[in-house]
Symmetry: C2
Subunit: 338 residues, 2 copies
């Protein structure tokens, strides 16, 4: 079979790779319906994370069950399934606590930009949809498997409540999905921080009521201005840089919350500053599995359409161009069709 | 009048100071009923915070209203009052959000180890008790003004819930009060981390079900052992050192919470580590004012007795000995009587 392999920063190739096969009785194999490139894939692509040897890429997927291991009874061949980028048995203590992305048997997906994909922990990870959904729903369901689930987690971790004010730091696909989540959770005011016109437009379409173009301390000062000098109830940090985290912490009101969902790169939080800010802080890899049934339903009923974050669709074999377009900010997010 | 003045590390004197008087129409003056020495007073006493010039000390108080400024209508001379170490107008946006210790007009108390004390923002800060309570309640009410309120906040910030497991890091007066708070909030299992026998005893009396004597990584490993390898639902960090914060973060389960209430000294939290831990973190100066009516009632009805943290009582004029006893860990907390 064929799939994407990164060889070095800027060098992603579509080539022949080992066939996906069942290695454990808890695995399943899916035939990829659609997959995509994630903002976090750009860390190694840009050399911000090392690539010590060539390896497959991709952690987002929806597809058709091709085969299921002996212990996998929840799904069967032919079914259309959605899963999370973090696999989980959905039975351990952490899973039962709703933190499936800290499952004791967690394996992160990493080979999804390919024609077929092995899914570990398939029983706990995959959610089957009764009837195969129309292709128009595939992008939304694919978004649910990662960026929409992560945006939802940002809003959940930041404790967005009905009538509250939410700020979204980051206008990538996760940030845009975080706007959807804040809206669905009832935020009255949603301030998107973005200086890119097409992303601003999508943020507004998703429910943003205000756009702030300033960044860093200026951005935080602008948020204070817009919130009677106090700061926002909830800040959804969807980037992962030190600047974004500072901006988020300085934008929240005392007693407010920052949910941070971008994997932090060289971020340190000063204890005394956090203390006197009175801001609550929670982040981590999104427990997408917890949200899947609910989010799938919201997509299939047309209540939300996170698939709109895909503004470029390419054949899977053009995956390299998909990376380039996102790296150069020509695309928010690239959908790949095998 | 006379009061405590710190001149240098280890050098606290009881001497003549300026009389407390009304400076603003929002002030009140109280005659001190009892006051005390706080664990945080030991930071400058031990030289961990600089003392650049001699200044008064103390931020805990209960007393009798002696005089009230023109704008203070909520209390009147002769009444017995309890307040917080952080004064607040109780009307600003942060106060209305329940974070009175981030009041826009906040002034921290700092002159309370004295015969009389000026209370800024008296209207919003002081809670009067209808009848003067018996002297046996004064220590408990004094504890409520700071250490008990702070322990309560630790449990609140760490989201202690009925049936949960709570760990308390720190066996000072705040940590011991945090045990009371965890118990009152319904924690089923309360693990106190302490290696001092008299403090262990008091922790058990207050509701601790387990004692862990190990510290640092060993301590965190022991907590994991006691919690099926997962970690605790809530960890109450009542120290403020880098070691205590690490121990706390490593003791919480994924999805659990750390409430940190000791003023952090040289504490930095690694963003990526916090991310992958899935632990929520919230701290700050306790919003004691929010809890005062409830905690006063719990003390006056005998439901809790945080006054037991005072294991040394001295005349106010012996305040220097009160510091020494705490510095040398001969006393958990020193009560001072004018």
């Amino acid at each position: 079979m064929r799939g994407a392999v990164i060889h070095a920063p800027g060098d992603v190739r579509f080539e022949t790779v080992d066939d996906a096969k069942i290695l454990k009785p808890t695995d399943a194999i899916i035939r990829t319906a659609v997959t995509c490139v994630c903002g976090s894939d750009l860390w190694p692509y840009r050399g911000a994370e090392p690539t010590e040897h060539p390896h497959p890429m991709g952690h987002e997927y929806v597809g058709f069950v091709e085969a299921a291991g002996a212990e996998v009874t929840a799904v069967e061949p032919g079914q259309f399934v959605v899963g999370s980028f973090a696999t989980s048995d959905n039975t351990c203590a952490n899973c039962r606590n709703g933190f499936q992305s800290s499952c004791l048997n967690r394996e992160f997906m990493s080979t999804c930009q390919a024609e077929y994909v092995r899914i570990p922990n398939a029983q706990g990870t995959l959610v089957a949809i009764d009837e195969v959904p129309g292709e128009e729903y595939w992008p939304g369901l694919l978004a649910v498997s990662d960026v929409m689930g992560t945006g939802w987690w940002a809003a959940d971790a930041a404790e967005v409540r009905p009538g509250s004010t939410a700020v979204v730091v980051g206008d990538g696909a996760v940030g845009l999905c975080a706007v959807i989540a804040a809206k669905e959770m009832g935020a009255e005011r949603i301030i998107a921080m973005s200086r890119h016109e097409p992303r601003q437009r999508l943020a507004r379409e998703f429910g943003a009521t205000d756009i702030v173009t300033e960044r860093g301390e200026e951005g935080a000062a602008r948020i204070k201005e817009l919130t009677n000098g106090i700061g926002a109830d909830s800040v959804l940090e969807c980037v992962g840089t030190a600047q974004a985290m500072r901006q988020a912490l300085h934008s929240a009101r005392p007693g407010g919350n920052v949910g941070f969902v971008g994997v932090p790169h060289e971020v340190a939080v000063d204890g005394q500053e956090l203390f006197f800010s009175h801001v609550g802080l929670r982040g981590g890899p999104a427990p997408v599995r917890r949200y899947l049934p609910d989010l799938i339903e919201r997509v299939l009923t047309g209540r939300i359409d996170p698939g709109k974050v895909f503004d470029l669709t390419l054949p899977l074999e053009q995956v390299a161009e998909g990376y380039r377009a996102m790296d150069e900010r020509r695309a928010i997010k690239t959908l790949l069709k095998p």
